[in-house]
């Protein structure tokens, strides 16, 4: 684990997240060795699929037969190898590059993803990671080892944003590919078509996933505090707009709040959590609040 990877693990956040844990609100498909109830019994030994070997994978799971036949390294993956699977989807579009404070939205998102992955893996649950824009750009299958965590952190550190967003497409893809119910943690600004996004969330819920939306917003996006004449440069190939922000502030905030309301309502209707993260606020505070809330609602 290099220094950049370590930086992603904010000690304060990790300490609070570790203490609180990440409990699935619903029954997940895992056995009870963990903290989660599972409808299945016995150890997870059923073969699920092959996956190409990547450094850090346990060599014990290399399928030697496939190696013999194809001269390629494949890892045998098994169902029920963990208590639950958390799919962390991080928005890597250009819109996430914006940041008026110390951190851009993407950096904040990476930090959140890293902390969540660390916490989940520490409680011996599995985490998969997907970094996406218009399509999936980086992906790590689920895993619950320390090496997997390192891989996740490495991916996060090395990732740089580009292009637009197809959030709905990503969610639909996760819903159709994942065979086991789990937690889908979407870390994004959600600046995409909200109707499509909510439709995708509904799809995930339909296949049994719990969905957590972590909306990463810059403080300026929430308050729109600009004065004077400002030219706004679109981050996702949208033409520049020159205007006096004070004269349209109310209108902007109305639009923005309407959008937020719609998202919040959509997630609520699907019994999903929607967490708004202001990048000006410390991550441990935002994440801690949510996890506290989550723990409280889970025990009920």
């Amino acid at each position: 684990m290099n220094n950049d990877s370590i930086k992603l693990l904010d000690p304060k956040t990790l300490a609070r997240a570790d203490k609180l844990g990440l409990a699935a609100r619903f029954i997940v498909e895992g056995y009870m060795a963990g903290e989660h109830k599972s409808p299945y019994r016995g150890f997870a030994i059923e073969f699920s699929q092959h996956r190409e070997y990547s450094p850090g994978d346990d060599v014990r799971h290399i399928d030697w037969k496939v190696l013999g036949k194809t001269d390629r390294y494949y890892i045998k993956q098994y169902e029920q190898e963990t208590n639950f699977v958390a799919h962390i989807l991080v928005d890597g579009s250009e819109s996430m590059q914006y940041g008026s404070g110390d951190l851009t939205k993407l950096e904040y998102a990476k930090l959140a993803a890293a902390c969540l992955a660390f916490t989940i893996i520490k409680q011996r649950d599995a985490v998969s990671l997907s970094l996406f824009g218009n399509s999936t750009r980086e992906e790590l299958p689920r895993g619950n080892t320390q090496n997997h965590l390192f891989n996740i952190l490495e991916k996060l550190v090395q990732f740089s944003p580009s292009g637009g967003t197809d959030l709905a497409g990503q969610l639909h893809s996760v819903a159709s590919q994942s065979q086991r119910k789990g937690i889908v943690i979407v870390i994004s600004d959600f600046f995409d078509d909200e109707d499509s996004t909510l439709e995708a969330v509904q799809h995930l819920r339909f296949v049994g996933h719990e969905v957590i939306g972590l909306q990463i917003l810059d403080h300026d996006e929430i308050t729109f505090p600009f004065n004077g004449l400002v030219e706004f440069e679109g981050l996702e190939e949208i033409p520049n707009l020159k205007t006096r922000p004070t004269e349209i502030r109310k209108s902007y905030l109305n639009e923005f709040n309407e959008f937020q309301e719609k998202l919040r309502d959509g997630f609520n209707k699907n019994s999903c959590h929607f967490v708004e993260c202001d990048t000006s606020k410390p991550l441990e505070e935002v994440l801690g609040s949510y996890l506290t809330f989550r723990k409280e609602t889970a025990t009920k």
Binding site: Q97, Y98, K105, F191, D218, E231, F232, L235, T243, I248
Partner: protein, 716 residues
């Protein structure tokens, strides 16, 4: 609309400033990389049109503000606003001709020229914009009364105008115009107006060249308006002179008057009647003039009987109605005496009365038969020098010294006091006189004689004879001989005479001179009295004057001159200063002076002078009789002021002169209509300045701009 600072209109280029600022502001913006563009796009789409409209509104308001400020700085003046409540600070100096000719009422007019001029001046002053300063001068033959320096108190100036009455003075516009131009040049105002309201009669413009030069030299800085009121009347007849021709006015004696009547009109006047009156009572029958042609002057002689002593008001009145009634009469004041007492001191009595030195003198003084001597208005007492001690010389009016050798200092002093308190002294030399006594005692020491006796003329042994002057009779004593019909003094021969040497610094005149230019008779005012010093004898020993016809009028005129010495200034011209020598008794006493038709009087004090006191009065503005009264003890002196006869001449400015005035003035109006004149003056005015309105509008727009820009930039 006109502009007082048109050069500042160049500032219109400043209109580009708001546009440049607007464009520059559009180039000065922050760049922000932005993720939430979708919300911006929607908001902008909704507000774009409104924001553009707001931008245009603000830009237009800013342009209008700059335009209004530029306009205000260029000081536009407009006739749209006739009210005097706004803008333009002019300095106006109004000159109203207040001379006698302005009292004329023209045909088809209810108002006199002076009333029209006053109304015009009032309108011109009232219509000056608020904050202006103005002055008013009434021009007659001095720099004029009124208010010379411009004042911001317009009401006070108009009050002065309202209260001023026309004068009977002659007119000369130059002093008033020069005074006004000086005041205007000292004014910091950028708009200076000189308004001259006169009747355009040539007499007021007698210094036309100087006037036109003064106006021309200042035409770049002073806008001059010349308003000529009045038309040339078809007829105007005037009494242009009324003079007393009798040297001594005495009770019971007929007095000869000379009356000058001039027809200044364009038509001949027939059957003109002139009535003489004394103290408002008609004296004798009217005198008729058959006809007097246009431009003709007729001198008529009138005789009036004097029946009471003292001050008499003699008036000549024409029975005729014309455009100017004030010059149809003329009034003078004379002082009539009851009896004149003369004392003749004979220095060479002779064996018979015909041999005496005073024989010819006495006959000249009382040229009547013996039975009429008592009733004659002059009485004489002949004495020798030795009897003078028994005589109270103060009882006499005139003392003649005829060839008196010399006399005591005591008598010298008595004579000195007598003269200085108003008596007359006539000195004739002769063979007996002690010239050095006269020179040292009476001339050098007492200053009683104006000249010293010098050498004998003509030079002894030359056998030449001196003659009296044959022409050039300038002194009142001999002006009679200016009339060729009266003969000449040139035939009077003098065989012997003293050279009369005048002393410097003595107020004296040569009354008669010899043909070689040397003085024959010198007169001088000494104190309140008068001294005549002859160079030759009173009898025929040294000259033949006593046997010439001229001797009697000369002697009578000498007596008359002494008698009227105190009253010589009783008839003055309007505008002149009345000066009267008064005795010591007037000093520190309350005296008043008033016009006989006025209800108000002016307090006046006698000023101390070497020989008594002086009363001076320089406010003689109206023609007529004035009363000078000493309250305690009561004493009344009357004098008369007559108007300048040139004021009766309605001759107007010539065509070339009017053309010249049109050329140098910014506004030349010739009309008798009040409305025409006032509207012409107002039309030429630059109107009210509207810069305060423009600045107010600019200020309001600035406030509006601030409000709108604040409102537009509020969160929406």
């Amino acid at each position: 609309m006109s502009f007082l600072n048109p050069a500042l209109l160049m500032g219109a280029a400043a209109l580009a400033i708001p546009i440049i600022v607007h464009l520059l502001n559009r180039r000065r913006f922050k760049r922000v990389k932005w993720a939430a563009m979708r919300f911006l796009e929607v908001s902008l789409e909704r507000n774009q049109r409104r924001m553009k409209v707001e931008d245009w509104i603000l830009l237009i308001i800013r342009l209008v503000i700059v335009a209004l400020i530029v306009l205000a700085l260029s000081r536009p003046a407009t006739d749209w606003i006739k009210s005097s409540g706004l803008g333009s600070t002019v300095t106006a100096s109004v000159i109203v001709d207040s001379s006698a000719s302005m009292q004329r009422t023209d045909q088809n007019s209810d108002l006199s020229r002076f009333q029209i001029a006053k109304e015009t001046a009032r309108e011109a002053l009232s219509s000056t914009p608020k904050g202006s300063s103005s002055s008013i001068l009434f021009a007659a033959n001095s720099s004029g009364s009124g208010m010379k320096e411009p004042s911001h108190d317009n009401k006070r100036v108009i009050n002065i105008l309202n209260e001023t009455e026309p004068s009977d003075r002659g007119s000369d516009l130059l002093p008033a115009i020069q005074s006004s131009i000086n005041s205007l040049n000292n004014s910091p105002s950028t708009q200076k107006e000189l308004i001259i309201i006169t009747d355009g009669e040539a007499s007021a413009w007698k210094q036309f060249e100087s006037i036109s030069r003064a106006i021309d030299q200042n035409k770049d800085t002073i806008n001059t308006t010349i308003a000529l009121v009045g038309k040339t009347p078809a007829e105007n007849i005037a009494i242009t002179s009324l003079t007393q021709k009798t040297p001594i006015v005495a009770v019971g004696q007929p007095m000869r008057l000379s009356v000058g009547i001039t027809n200044f009109g364009e038509i001949e006047i027939n059957d003109l009647s002139i009535q003489i009156s004394i103290n408002e009572n008609t004296s004798g029958l009217p005198i008729n003039i058959d006809s007097i042609k246009s431009g003709e002057e007729k001198i008529i002689t009138a005789f009036v009987e004097i029946d009471s002593p003292g001050y008499l008001r003699i008036k000549a009145q024409i029975d005729y109605t014309d455009s100017k009634s004030v010059d149809n009469s003329r009034e003078i004041v004379i002082k009539a005496v009851e009896k004149i007492q003369t004392l003749l001191i004979d220095g060479e009595p002779g064996r018979s009365i015909t041999d005496s030195e005073t024989f010819f003198l006495q006959n000249a003084l009382i040229p009547v038969p013996e039975e009429l001597i008592e009733s004659f208005f002059i009485s004489s007492n002949i004495i020798n020098l030795g009897s003078i001690q028994d005589i109270e010389i103060k009882d006499y009016d005139v003392i003649f010294l005829a060839n008196v050798p010399d006399f005591s200092n005591e008598l010298s002093n008595r004579l000195n006091d007598f003269v200085k308190s108003g008596g007359g002294l006539v000195v004739f030399p002769g063979d007996n006189i002690n010239a050095s006594f006269y020179n040292q005692e009476l001339h050098e020491k007492l200053n009683l004689l104006p000249a010293s006796y010098g050498k004998i003329l003509p030079i002894e042994g030359s056998n030449s004879v001196l003659s009296l002057q044959a022409s050039g009779y300038n002194h009142p004593l001999v002006e009679l001989w200016n009339d060729p019909g009266a003969g000449t003094l040139g035939d009077v021969k003098t065989f012997k005479a003293f050279e009369l040497i005048l002393k410097d610094g003595v107020d004296s005149n040569i009354a008669i001179q010899y043909n070689n230019g040397s003085a024959a008779v010198i007169e001088a005012d000494i104190g309140l009295g008068k001294v005549y010093q002859f160079s030759s004898s009173a009898d025929t020993e040294w000259n033949d004057l006593p046997v010439k016809a001229a001797f009697l009028p000369i002697v009578h005129r000498v007596v008359g001159s002494v008698i009227s010495r105190m009253d010589s200034g009783l008839n003055i011209q309007v505008g002149d200063t009345f000066i009267r020598k008064v005795p010591q008794s007037w000093i520190n006493k309350e005296a008043t002076i008033s016009h006989s038709k006025s209800e108000t009087a002016t307090f006046i004090n006698a000023e101390i002078s070497d020989d008594g006191g002086n009363v001076q009065f320089n406010q003689v503005n109206s023609s007529g009789i004035y009363d000078l009264k000493l309250t305690e003890p009561f004493e009344l002196i009357q004098f008369s002021a007559t108007s300048d006869p040139r004021e009766s001449n309605p001759e107007k400015l010539s065509g070339p002169q009017i053309e010249r005035l049109k050329e140098i003035s910014s506004n030349f109006i010739e009309s008798s209509s009040l409305n025409e004149i006032t509207s012409a003056i107002n039309q030429k005015r630059k109107g009210a300045e509207i810069w305060p309105l423009l600045l107010l509008a600019a200020l309001l727009l600035t406030l509006l701009e601030l409000y709108l820009s604040q409102k537009f930039s509020q969160e929406k």
